[in-house]
Structures are given as C-alpha cells and as structure tokens.
Symmetry: C2
Subunit: 513 residues, 2 copies
C-alpha cells in the first residue's frame, strides 16, 4: 500500500474515521485511497474554514478528533480562523495538509508557501512527513498529540511523494494517557476556603460544564454557599431541563467586573483566570478584583469531574441534588427582538438538541430563557473568530446523526463561512439555522463607544452596516440547496420553527429584526 493508504488506514485504526475535505492536486492520492478503505466518512466542504469549523463541532460532540484534508499553505490559511477557535476550545483535531513533493519544494512553484510557519500559531503539534515509509508513524504521533488532554490541534504536512511512494502499512495508536488527577492537598485547601464562609466563586470551564461535574459543583455550592459560574464562552455545556442551571461570566467588561466585584476567592476548575475580551481605555484587563485569591484546582488537562466529586466529599456535600422543575417561557407575540426570539427558542427547543450558538448580540439574552428547555448541549464560539456557527453545526450533525441541531446564527458572522450550508444540504444533515438578520455588525456599534470612539460619523457607521443591499438569506440558502423561509413576527417565527423542527434535513429561517 502507498503512503496515502497507510495514512488513511492508520487514522481509521486510531479512531479517526471522519474527514472534512477540500483537496487539491497534492492530496489526490489521499482522496484515491478513500475508495480502498472502508469505514471512513469523507465530507466535502467548499471552503477550508468550513472543514476546520466542522472538525471542531464534530470533536466537541464526539469527544474525539476528526481529520481535515487541506491543500497547501493557502488552503491551511483559509482554515486558520476556525483552527484558532478549535484550539481555544481544546478540540482535538488532526489536519492533513498536502505539500509539494519533497524534491519539488525548492523550485518555489506558484503554490509554494511556508506551511509549517502557517500552521504553528494555530496548532499544538506540527510535523512534515519525510518519507512514505514513515508517514504511518507520523500519523500516530498526530493522533496522540490531538487526543492527549486537554486536546489539541495536530497538523501533519504530507508532501505528495510521501503519499504516492510505497508505505509501511498501518501503525498502531497506543493507549492515550488518562487525565491527571488533582492532588489531595489542593482539594483540602479549596475545601478549607469554601468552609471558611468567605465569599467564593467556583468558575467552571472545559469539561467541568458537562452534566455530572455541574451537579457536583451545585452540591458544593448548596453546602458551602459558594457561587458557581460558567466561563463566558464554553465549548460544550450540558444544560437545560433536569440539569443544573448556571449563569456565565458576562461578555461586557463592566458587567463582568460587577459580577466578581466582592469575591475573596476565585476557584478555577477547567477555567482560566478571567480577562477582558478586549482592552478598553481606563478599564482593567483582568476581571477578578485586586487582592482576590485565585486558586487553580483543576486545569483543562486534569480530570475535572473527578476533582469536583472529591471536593464535594471533602466539604460534605453528599446530599443528592434536587433539580427543580422549571417553566418554559410562553410563546411571545409581536416584533422580533432578542427577548422574543429567545422566548420562541426557549418554548420550542426539543429534548436532546444540540445548540450551536453564534448569536452574538442577539444571543446574549438566550441563556436564561432556555434553562427550562432541553436537556441540550450548548456549543459556543470559543476563540472569538466569528464564522464558526454554520461549520460547527455541520460537524456536530455529522457526529450525532440522530439528534436535532439548532444553529443560532448572527448574520454578519454567518457570511464568513456561509458555504457550509451546501455541505449541510449534500449530507442531508438535520440542522435548523436561525439567521438573526439585524443587518449590522451590531456588536461594534457598542464597541465604538466602549473604546472611546464616540459620535461616529456616516463613514464609520457604514463600515458596521450590512444593509444596502440587505442580504437575502432565503435566496442565499436556496442557492446552496437548503430549504429556507422568512419570519417577520414572533408568531411567524414560532410557526416556522415548529415546522422546521418537525421536518428532517437542513432548513434555514431568516429572522428579520
């Protein structure tokens, strides 16, 4: 078997059996090998940012990596923004990036670029294969790098001759090391703090916002009076009906500062010492107040759920948690606003949905309105690089074909990777996309004032407007093969959302605000 086939077979043997592809000439042997290897699902994307964002969504839901297949430096470049998001989400991913044959690189052909240099800022592991005989071993290294906690982006660059020359067969992926256990002293110290009666917040991130760790955290809070809080952005939170409801640290810096203002102890479990998303003149970069005692109990590489369980034992939080029944909001009427849209979603979201939330300004109100819906998984933009929503929904639907995916999508952000709708259509993925059509980069209107650029004139405001012309989302989606419709009132949105949830396959509703 040639190098390409040994690469594909090694991926599959290592549990990486989905590939989001956008190939070119240098990747043709990889593509050809797919026909000789059963059990690898290949999903074509029409733009590389869709491939990397889909691999992120897949990893979040499958808890294992997909691979991507990308064409040289520029193809990898197109995937960078969503690699950035995936890296910040600690999603495992194995990128296979084609390269010119080893002997051809020195001729500086038109597509030649520094691929390792391109990959490095957005990868946890980068390697260029040297030979076809060695590429299976390289692939194993990539899988191990991607899957070792806390999860990372592994980029394997495959020169064309390392795919077409004779390979060495399949290499076996070794067992992945378990997550580290937090030591007893750390547990005891945090237990002491929590029992002291001083104001404490437990900030939960990463795997600590899955259902079981959240329940342990809630028991600890109930017992000790500590508050629990999620990070502003979470790769995957298990929430909704029957689950612990928590609030998140707000995005706006002033609100975030207010939430933590009086905190004496901040306990980090899977989370980071919180910082402002951006710097603002006269505002601090760090969110925790001066003098706050910040203790990292468990990093994202640690076993966060186990740490929370032991901490619960240490503080004597043994009582089974009663999660109160919550009431869904009633169906609203009238104009479409963040509040009425959130209420429609909160009222109708089905059980076991996967929600991909790139709602940006429109979406800020959705969280409290959806505590009673579900239960569901809630996936957010993690690295701030807008354009993850449509691809993430695509990948999540590939990972979980039996679940409904609801994609909550700001219009400006949607335009970065709108090509992902076509992949949803081709793969007949069960995704309902709500486009929040406010025809502006609305977040930036606020940010102008926040950074002290007040009284913007017409030229500045024009750079934040998506009107003139309005984007016709129904046409756009239909052009990409997705059934689409418009809703202009809350009643219309409720009717159409219901119908789309009942139907199978990709649908899009333009929510006109």
């Amino acid at each position: 078997m040639n190098g390409a086939e040994s690469l594909v077979r090694t991926l599959k043997a290592g549990g990486v059996d989905v590939c989001f592809t956008n190939p070119g000439t240098s990747e043709m042997h990889f593509v050809a090998a797919l026909d000789r290897v059963d059990g690898v699902r290949c999903v074509l994307c029409l733009f590389e940012g869709v491939a990397t964002g889909a691999a992120d969504g897949y990893a979040r839901m499958a808890d294992k990596p997909a691979s991507t297949l990308l064409h040289l430096g520029p193809g990898l470049g197109n995937g960078i923004a969503n690699l950035h998001n995936a890296k910040k989400a600690r999603s495992p991913m194995v990128n296979i990036v084609g390269e010119h044959a080893t002997y051809h690189v020195k001729y500086d052909a038109p597509l030649t670029a520094d691929i390792e240099g391109t990959a490095r800022p957005y990868s946890n592991w980068v390697k260029t294969a040297k030979t076809a005989a060695g590429i299976a071993d390289d692939t194993v290294e990539a899988i191990v790098a991607a899957r070792t906690a806390p999860g990372g982006i592994a980029t394997l660059i495959a020169p064309a001759d390392t795919t077409w020359e004779e390979g060495a067969g399949i290499a076996e992926t070794p067992a992945i090391p378990e997550r580290a256990k937090v030591d007893d002293k750390a547990i005891a110290e945090v237990a002491r703090i929590l029992k002291s009666g001083e104001t404490a917040v437990i900030l939960l991130g990463d795997k600590a916002v899955r259902a079981a760790p959240l329940e342990a955290a809630a028991r600890i809070a109930e017992k000790t009076g500590a508050r629990i809080l999620g990070e502003t952005s979470n790769a995957r939170m298990e929430r909704g009906a029957g689950r612990v409801a928590i609030e998140r640290l707000p995005y706006p810096v002033d609100q975030a500062l207010a939430v933590l203002a009086d905190v004496k102890h901040l306990i980090l479990i899977g989370s980071r010492d919180p910082v402002a998303f951006f710097a603002y003149p006269g505002k601090p970069s760090r969110i925790a107040p001066e003098g706050c005692n910040i203790v990292t109990l468990a990093t994202p590489a640690d076993d966060q759920g186990e740490a929370l369980e032991r901490l619960a034992q240490a503080v004597g939080a043994n009582r089974t948690l009663t999660i109160p029944g919550r009431e869904r909001p009633g169906l609203p009427t009238g104009a479409l606003t963040p509040e009425t849209i959130g209420a429609v979603i909160g009222a109708l979201l089905p059980e076991n949905a996967i929600v991909c939330d790139e709602g940006v300004t429109t979406g800020r109100k959705f969280f409290p309105l959806t505590h009673a819906a579900g239960p569901m998984d809630w996936l957010q933009l993690s690295g701030g690089a807008i354009g993850v929503g449509i691809p993430m929904a695509t990948g999540a639907a590939v990972a979980c074909p039996d679940r409904k995916v609801v994609s909550l999508q700001a219009d400006g952000s949607a335009m970065y990777t709108v090509q992902g709708l076509w992949t949803q259509a081709r793969e007949k993925l069960d995704v309902v996309t709500l486009i929040f059509s406010n025809r502006s980069y609305n977040i930036l209107r606020g940010e102008l004032a926040n950074v002290g650029a007040n009284n913007p004139g017409p030229k500045a405001l024009n750079m934040l407007s998506l009107a003139d012309p309005d984007i016709g989302w129904v046409n756009l989606a239909r052009g990409l093969g997705v059934e689409a419709m418009r809703a202009e009132t809350a009643e219309e949105l409720a009717d159409k959302f219901k119908a789309c949830l009942k139907a199978k396959g990709p649908h899009l509703i333009e929510v006109v605000m």
Copy 2:
C-alpha cells in the same frame, strides 16, 4: 490627533487612499478616524479574503497599493490565500492588522494569536507598532516597503493603544527608488545570443507583458527569429486588438515541456525559470530542457520595458511594428463548451475592458479566441490559491470606475470568496461575472490521473463533484444583491452577455455547462 488618525492621514499623504476593510473592536479608532479624513475611500468586505483579493486587483490596475484593515490573527488568517496570490503577483499592498492593546496581549484573551507569525509567510515586510507617537513613521516604512520594486506585501500590526493614544501627526513618505536599470554587458550578451541564430525563447513576465514592452519584444522577435512567450500566469497583460498577441507557457506539464523542448537559450525578462505547477511522478520539476542556457536579463525588480527597448536597439530591431488586424470569432450556436463560451467572449468583449480570469479548466481555451477583442487588460490567478476572481474584479472596478470589468469565473473557485458579490452590489461596481457552472473541481479529475491515481472510485469522484446539490448561482447572486440570470446555450449566453455589457452595475450570468 490620535495614533489612528495619524496612521490614516499618513496613508493618504503617501498615496494610499483606498481601504478594503473588515474591522473589529481593536480597529474601531481607525474606523472612527475615517470620518475625520477626507479623500479616503473605504470599502466594506464581508470576509477578509475579499479584502485582500480586492486590494490585489486594485494594485494591479492602479499600479499603487490599497490598504486593508483586518481584525487580529484570525482576520489576517482569513486573508492569507489572497495575500499569497498578491505576493506572487508582486502587487503592492499595505495591510493594517489590529491587535490587542500592548499591555493586554500577555493576558492571552480569546482572540490573542501570534499575528507576526501569521503574517510573515505571506508578507515581504512585517512590523508591530510600539507607540502611537511612532505609528506614522511605521506607516511610512510600510508604504515604502510595499511600493519599492518589485512591489510587496507590507503588514503593519497596530495594537489598539497605538491607535487611541496621542499620535505625532502626519509623516511624509519619501520618493520611492526607481527600478534598477539592466547593465550594458547583460544587454550585449543577450543580443549576441539572439543574433547567433540558435533557438531562443524570450519568456516575458511581470511588467514585460504591458503593451509597450510587448511591442519591443515583438520587434526583437521579428528581427532575430527568437520566439516570445508569456508566463503561464500573469498579473496583468495588456493585450487584444492593436496589441501584440503572444501565447503563454501552458499549465499542463507535458504541453509545457513540449513547448520548450528544443530551446537552446531561454531569456528571462520579468519572468522566472519555469517550473511545473506541481510535481508529477516521473516528470521533471523544471520545464526548460537539460542543458538549456538560461539567462536572466531583467528581474521583476528591474526596469523591464527599458531593458527590452535597449535590447531592441542592440539587435537593430528599429522598424516600427505593424500589428495585423485580427478577426473576432463569429457568434457560436449550440451547447456551452469552453470553445463556444470563449467564442462568445471573443466576439463581444468591449474595448478597454478589464478581464479577471479565474476560468481554470474552462478558461484554458479563451486566450487565442480573444486576441482580436479589446484592447483589454487581462488579469490572472498568480499564486494558484483559488478564490481570487470575484475579489480581484471588485478591486479592479474600484481602481477603474470608468471601465467595464468582466470576471471569468470557475464555479468551484468562486465559492471560496463568493461574499465579494455583495461588495460589488454595495459599491455599484460595473462588473459582469460569468460563472462557468460545470459543477465539479474539473481540474482535479485530470490531476488524479496525472499523479498516477488511476481508476478513481465513487468516494474519490464524489470529493471532486459540486453536484448534489447543484449550486443555484442565480439565487446566490440575488441573495447578495447582484442581478443574475442563467444561460444554457451559446445563443442565450450571447444575448445575456450583450445585455449585461450594456447595463451598468454588477451582473452575473450562470453559464450552464
């Protein structure tokens, strides 16, 4: 004035008065400054690859740089593929990339990334501004780096506080050094070769394919019997009626090898020693035959037109060139094929058009069919990173508002940067786009065999197919605000192309193959 305003005023004073933007929070002071500075045209793009591709198209037609405004590492990442193309085209460009405030970077906020590392592989010059007082001087350095021959990509990273703190006013851009003149000895040596009667090809690239240098080259060829040939891909060739008609080195490696098979001397003027676009098993990387004498007369940094004039004098090619009248093809009938499409274009292309050619496999036949049309400028994909066509047409139309831009566009390539249609609509740019809808990455079907991956199976072929679902280009374009229609026969294409050429503003025709 703050740093942002001193940056914008310095750009304008240095002749950089167009900015293709996709800003975020860290760029808000730049955006706000636009209202305080007259005479800077700001063009909003909904994706950064549109901004960088448009700046490339602008630079090719204006022969001076535009600026781009990009948001942090991921925003720059989205622009990489078309930066790659622009760098290979030697288009001057000044990228302004926002960054967190200098003191905020260390906190590793969600959008933090290694921006310099991201920029370096795709820039000729990279710098991070340190202070608001110094940013005007940094801007001058960037302009000089971009404009100094052969032209380059300058990336200035602007931390937010270097834009909002007090700046030092406007810095003056010095005179840009003239292009170097080729030395007499080199001219004499090439003249000797050309007069020797041995088989010689003059390979023209860069500025040597503008009208005047081409005429000098044609006189030399007429006098000496040397052949003249263009590079496979050219940033901007001045061609068509009343101008010298030359052929280009073919893209397929076997055809390219055949064209140069018997050549004893290969004279490079603005061109590079030709290499195969990709490596193919058993085929050479270099196109010139073994033992061929390769002489670089003028590099892209040199004054190529002046070198050709002196060479013409040296070989005694003084006779004024008579450029023969040529006949446009007749309007074809029947099915839409590369040949009939090329004939329609050749028959109807108006005088003084700017043609942006990302026709890929469909477009390979267009060149000979359009020798009689025009005169026109013909712009090609220069770095092989598909997705330049729509943005390039956008930028060319901004540079030349009084000229008709005709965008010849393969369907697969169009999908990478389709968002550019919206910018054409917003700016009411006079662009007619022909989408060659063959519903496949057709070039890769050939490349599978070329790299020795024969007998592809259904999974491989599915990765090269854009069918299922077909992309509805009329819907897609309308959704982005561009008038659109379909043509299914050569007659229909001729009628609709005529109508679009007559109308003003952006139009798109889906050419169904």
